[in-house]
Amino acid sequence: MNRILPIVKKDVTQIFRNRFIAVITFLAIFIYAVIFHIMPSKVEEAYSMGFYFEKGREVAEEQISKEEGLEVVWADDEEGLKKLVENEDVQAGLSFTLPEGKPKIVLYTSSQTPEEIREAGDVIAREAAYNLSGYPLNVEFNEVVIGPDLIGMQVPLRNKMRVLFVVVILAVEFYALGNLISEEIRKKTADAILVTPVSISEFMTAKVATGIFLTFFEGILAAFLLNIISVDTVIPFAVLLLLGAFLVVAVSFVLGTISRSFLGLTAYGTLFMVVFMIPAFILIFPGGYSFWINAVPSYYLIIPLDGIVNYGYVLSDYLPEMAYLGSFDLVMLLLGLYVLRRRLT
């Protein structure tokens, strides 16, 4: 232990003395925090709404055009309006009909529409109804959700993206730690350490400790800046982060051992990073999902992270994912330690 600590201290110093690594690490955290905070928390400011008026479209058109920030699409019938909503051409649809002379207003929203938008649509619809009929009490008001109802599950894009950001920040550690290991080998400083009483096991333990410490620390920092941490999420987040940190460390060991130059390191590093991040992109573009993504280990980090951070799930909801991730960590770490030990002896 008294020989491991000085190595960890030296490793951390060394990583941050490398300008490229220091810059990409902190810049990444900083930029993502900024992006997160300037992204709209209410999803979209411009609001598009479809309308169908059985009667009095001219009057309505005049009225509605006065609404600011509202983009209006007119449908020719009720079915057309529903199609608009379904295809997400508009964020909500409002139909105004007069069955048996009694005004009837229906607000259509898609299940894909975030709740905030639905609420906004609701307000607009009520206001429009009041404006049009003059007396709201006599109006029958309905709300119809098209598609499976996932009320309460809709999350603004920026919240989804912060999971991606955390994963990117973890992946940047591939370079930091991979480079640290690869430099110790390439520049033969590892030899200088290994002719002191430090054993190979102590040397490798120090590297694992450095990696876990850095990855964990940066993850927590990012989480703070991205508003992820709350009383409810802090522990599950920390647990997942730790599992993720082991994955990153293990991959970096392999990366650092196989790359013979800085160029090789960046090439391999980018490859690993892209693969590692793919599951996080799926959160943002769900359409991109395909089955093989299940084979990427970081999927089992990203899904629980998303669930816990964005949907209020708890760790016990993700036991299978965590078990898979934990075993992958273990296998990968053993592989990493094995290749590094072979390289050092």
Binding site: R3, P6, A192, L194, T196, V198
Partner: protein, 319 residues
């Protein structure tokens, strides 16, 4: 009763004495072994298929400098790496300070200092940070960094990174690092290679100072002047084999021929002639030259280690 006691005493004495005599040989062997700081027996190493060191044996006495002299690729660094435990010999064994490297490596490594051929320093850290870091690995808490830097004659700014050091500065720092744990045995791999005369001198001074303090030193080099000046004994290594080990004086005396070089004027030009000092006809030839031509210069030359190296290995040290 007394008689029996006396007899018993005598008997025991003789038994002990007999026992002592029997073991004398092994005691002497042990004492000799104890005097050896480093001993290598038949050590062998090949990289993949390339045999780099081929059954090499030698020893270094305590307080002695052994110069390991050989051209590029001779196997010097490979030998050194086996001695310090970075490479495990594929055959043979190494013992240092009476301990076997295969058994008590970490104990040995606590008492040795290694100066590598590559300047494997942490470039992004300062000299002081480098020294303190390595000292901490030996558990040396209070390292007098200032004294150590002064010893190797290195003056640096406190925060100056090693990356900005000149070659000579880096090499001096390498020497300083070798000494952070006050080692008893030093392993130095071409410590003056590529240095200007001033830096090389600074490094050599440190080597001699350590020897003066009783350190044992394994010094690889392909600089025969350095080997000659610093070593108590030199070993010639070529193609992974040691061809001879002896003191520089003995080598020169036994294997080198001393010559007389004469320069004289001939037909308006200058002519140079080499005469062997061992040659019986030498004085006759000198008389001949001095009577016919005007002698410009005449001096004796001793064989260099380089000449002897070529004689042994058929190879030059450099190039």
């Amino acid at each position: 009763m007394m008689g029996f006691n006396g007899f018993f005493f005598e008997f025991k004495f003789w038994c002990d004495f007999q026992f002592f005599l029997c073991n004398m040989q092994s005691y002497v062997k042990m004492i000799i072994e104890m005097e050896k700081a480093v001993s290598a027996e038949n050590i062998t190493y090949s990289y993949n298929k390339k045999l780099a060191v081929d059954h090499v044996s030698f020893h270094i006495d305590k307080g002695e400098i052994l110069g390991f002299l050989g051209p590029n690729g001779a196997g010097k660094s490979t030998t050194l790496k086996m001695l310090v435990g970075l490479l495990v010999p594929q055959d043979g064994k190494v013992s240092i300070l009476g301990m076997n490297t295969s058994k008590e490596l970490k104990k040995i490594q606590a008492q040795i200092g290694v100066c590598f051929e590559e300047k494997n320093l942490y470039e992004e850290m300062s000299a002081v940070e480098n020294l303190k870091f390595f000292a901490s690995l030996f558990g040396v808490r209070r390292l007098d960094v200032v004294a150590l830097l002064k010893k190797v004659n290195l003056s640096v700014e406190k925060r100056q990174k090693v990356a900005s050091f000149s070659k000579g500065m880096k090499q001096r720092l390498m020497m300083a690092r070798t000494l952070v744990n006050y080692p008893k045995v030093l392993f130095l791999d071409e410590p003056t290679d590529g240095l200007d005369p001033v830096s090389a001198r600074a490094v050599r001074d440190v080597i001699l100072e350590e020897k003066g303090k009783g350190a044992t030193i394994f010094l690889t080099t392909h600089d025969m002047m350095e080997a000659d000046k610093l070593s108590d004994r030199v070993a010639f290594i070529n193609d992974g084999k040691i061809s001879v080990i002896d003191t520089p004086e003995n080598l020169k005396h036994e294997h080198g021929k001393r010559i007389l070089r004469i320069c004289y004027r001939l037909d308006g030009g200058v002519r140079e002639e080499e005469l062997s000092l061992e040659d019986k006809d030498m004085s006759k030839r000198i008389d001949e030259i001095s009577s016919k031509y005007s002698i410009l210069d005449m001096h004796t030359e001793e064989a260099t280690l380089e000449d002897i190296f070529i004689k042994f290995t058929g190879r030059k040290l450099v190039g």
